[in-house]
């Protein structure tokens, strides 16, 4: 069991600092997901925790102890790699055992550990097989078992699910959540997939350009994004963000926050009536594309030179149809010119909101 602290960590590759004086504390027992676009520094961060890359300056502490100069094998961490990195010439058993042998664990104890772990992950019948004879999911389990058997205080995972097909990935996500509950140790998980981050994490660290954009629980990140980058990175399709037309201020709303109705020139749809009392922003446009996903439908609504993505449970609108798009004022986000979020508490907020409503086309 251990918390992880990165203190003023800097990593320089080829004279460019990919991470510059970064501070981060990962709580003991948390399931923390480092997420961000490729090249954002999340993997570098993970590798510095593991000791595979050494930080240029700053320190790494695991469980309160400075491990900055410890070899990877002595930090009490285990890692699951994207391609699993199973030793191809060793059997499943030898793969799981390798770390124990290196740590001079007694034979009897080793056998017991391997047996119990392989039972947990459902590999008992495959112990004497070579990794090349296993399926992708089974290999994934071997990689997990190999990490678990060392009873690490910290579990590091570098996009461990990206080589699996969609169905298996969903299943493994649930298994990882259960595993985390059962082991109760710190999980640090790197991914570029925000769905994975949202579904598994109890804490998300969103990074971009080597800088932490926001660090919070998934629901907070989603509902209260700290800045425009966070708002647009989390969520599919991403948040619609456009210029307000004053002081570089931008406004945005999530696709599912928009309500569609038939254009006012035609009949009123019932749902719009429900919201007539609350302040709204609305715009008229035409359906440019329509993706029917099953329980919901994603529309692209063209209005002037802007297009808005709308996610709706209603699939009645057809291509080229004229529609009215409305968003409750409470579900509109404002961002300052530098991308930071403009909160309701700020003095200019109401003024900008009024200005936005004044722009209604219709």
């Amino acid at each position: 069991m251990a918390s992880i602290e990165l203190v003023q960590v800097t990593k320089v590759f080829d004279k460019t600092a990919v991470i510059d004086r970064l501070d981060l504390t990962i709580e003991d027992g948390s399931f923390t997901v480092l997420v961000g676009p490729s090249g954002c520094g999340k993997t570098t961060l993970l590798r510095m925790i593991a000791g595979l890359d050494l930080q240029t300056s700053g320190s790494v502490r695991i469980g309160g102890k400075d491990v900055s100069n410890l070899a990877p094998g002595q930090r009490g961490v285990a890692m699951v790699f994207q391609n699993y990195a199973l030793y191809p010439t060793m059997s499943v058993r030898e793969n799981i055992e390798f770390g124990l042998k290196n740590n001079k664990v007694k034979r009897s104890e080793r056998i017991e550990l391997v047996e119990s772990i392989s039972e947990t992950v459902g590999l008992k019948d495959y112990l004497d097989r070579k990794p090349s004879t296993l399926s992708g999911g089974q290999r994934q389990r071997v990689a997990l078992a190999r990490a678990m058997v060392k009873k690490p205080a910290v579990f590091l995972m570098d996009e461990p699910l990206s080589n699996l097909d969609a169905k298996l990935r969903g299943q493994m996500r649930i298994e990882l959540i259960e595993l985390h509950k059962k082991l109760g140790v710190t999980f640090v998980y790197v991914t570029h997939d925000q769905v994975e981050a949202m579904s598994m994490a109890d804490r998300i660290v969103l990074m971009n350009g080597g800088v932490i954009q926001q660090e919070a629980a998934p629901e907070v990140i989603y509902r209260q994004p700290g800045n425009q980058f966070t708002a647009q990175f989390m969520g599919v399709p991403p948040m619609n963000v456009y210029e307000l037309g004053a002081n570089g201020i931008k406004f945005g709303f999530r696709p599912e926050a928009a309500l569609l109705s038939q254009s006012q020139t035609q009949s009123q749809s019932p749902e719009t009536n429900l919201n007539t009392n609350t302040p709204q922003w609305s715009v008229r446009g035409t359906v440019a594309t329509r993706e029917m996903l099953g329980s919901e439908t994603i529309y692209q609504i063209k209005s002037g030179d802007r297009s808005y993505m709308v996610k709706s449970a209603d699939d009645q609108y057809a291509f080229d149809q004229e529609v009215q798009l409305r968003v409750d004022a409470s579900r509109i986000f404002l961002f300052a010119a530098d991308g930071s979020r403009l909160l309701e508490s700020e003095p200019d907020y109401a003024g900008y909101m009024d200005r936005l409503r004044g722009q209604r086309h219709g």
């Binding site: 100069n69 410890l70 070899a71 002595q74």
Partner: protein, 292 residues
């Protein structure tokens, strides 16, 4: 554990140290020593009597007919072996290109001479080329063709040696070329077929350029290999008759005990030729051949 980084820093050097020691002792130092020796009249029995003679050995080399004779023989041998092997190996490889059982067996068969010692190969051919009772002349006689003196005439000896060398080399190079041919993606040929390309065009515009890196590699290896030819000559002809088959290395070999300084100067010349060839080849390589 505090020393981890120090040890990390020296570990690569420790790991390559034995290998580098071997190269320094048995390649680099000898090269230097060879150059050093080439400026001396070296006395094997009494080194104190060795004498610095400046460029005398080199002057001697470039004024002596037998050196030019050896150099000329080596050049003829190299050009003959490289050209013949290259063409015949390429044709063989094209012929045996398809991955069938028969082709695999034949390739396995023609490869045998390459893994057998050059001593054995030389002795077998020496016997077959024996003028009065040898197999080849018996064959010629029964076909009504006048027999040849093969290795025993200064007119035919070098050609005979070339025949044996080519015979030994074809299998290996055909193998490499046909492996290269099989590496060419079939879809390229399919595309060419759809473009209605003729067979000759396919060969010269597609096949040949695509395998040119391998052909080039073979060219380099074979040229350098041919320049240092020795064994076959030593066993089959002993450089004779009348120095007709004395090659550069054989020349150096024959002076190795009697005149070390002179042999060393000849060795330096050989080294320079090989170095120059390698250099020229790699300059060409960087300019011409890159499809991979």
């Amino acid at each position: 554990m505090a020393n981890r980084t120090t040890w990390d820093r020296i570990r690569p050097y420790v790991m390559i140290a034995p290998a580098m020691a071997g190269i320094l002792t048995f390649v680099i130092y000898p090269m230097g020593y060879l150059i050093y020796l080439s400026f001396y009249k070296y006395n094997l029995m009494n080194r104190a009597k060795s004498k610095y003679v400046e460029f005398d050995n080199y002057k001697q080399i470039f004024t002596r007919g037998d050196f030019y004779k050896a150099l000329g023989n080596t050049l003829v041998y190299t050009v003959g072996v490289v050209a013949l092997t290259m063409i015949l190996a390429l044709l063989t490889a094209l012929w045996l290109k398809r991955n069938t059982r028969l082709n695999a067996i034949i390739q396995g068969g023609i490869f045998i001479p390459h893994i057998v010692s050059i001593v054995s190969v030389s002795l077998v051919w020496l016997w077959m080329m024996e003028p009065s009772h040898g197999m080849l002349n018996a064959l010629l006689r029964s076909l009504g063709i006048p027999p040849s003196h093969w290795l025993q005439s200064s007119r035919t000896a070098l050609v005979s040696v070339i025949i044996v060398a080519v015979w030994q080399a074809i299998g290996y190079y055909a193998l490499i070329i046909s492996a290269a041919l099989r590496n060419v993606s079939p879809s390229i040929y399919e595309a060419a077929a759809l473009d209605n390309a003729s067979r000759a065009k396919v060969f010269f515009r597609i096949t040949l350029p695509l395998i040119s890196p391998q052909l080039f590699f073979i060219l380099v290896i074979m040229t350098i290999g041919s320049f240092k030819v020795f064994d076959i000559v030593q066993i089959m002809t002993g450089g004779g008759p009348n120095d007709a088959t004395t090659t550069l290395v054989y020349y150096i070999y024959s002076y190795r005990t009697t005149n070390i300084g002179y042999a060393a100067a000849s060795g330096v010349t050989l080294m320079a030729i090989i170095g120059l060839l390698t250099f020229v080849y790699f300059r060409l390589l960087s300019r011409k051949v890159h499809y991979q």
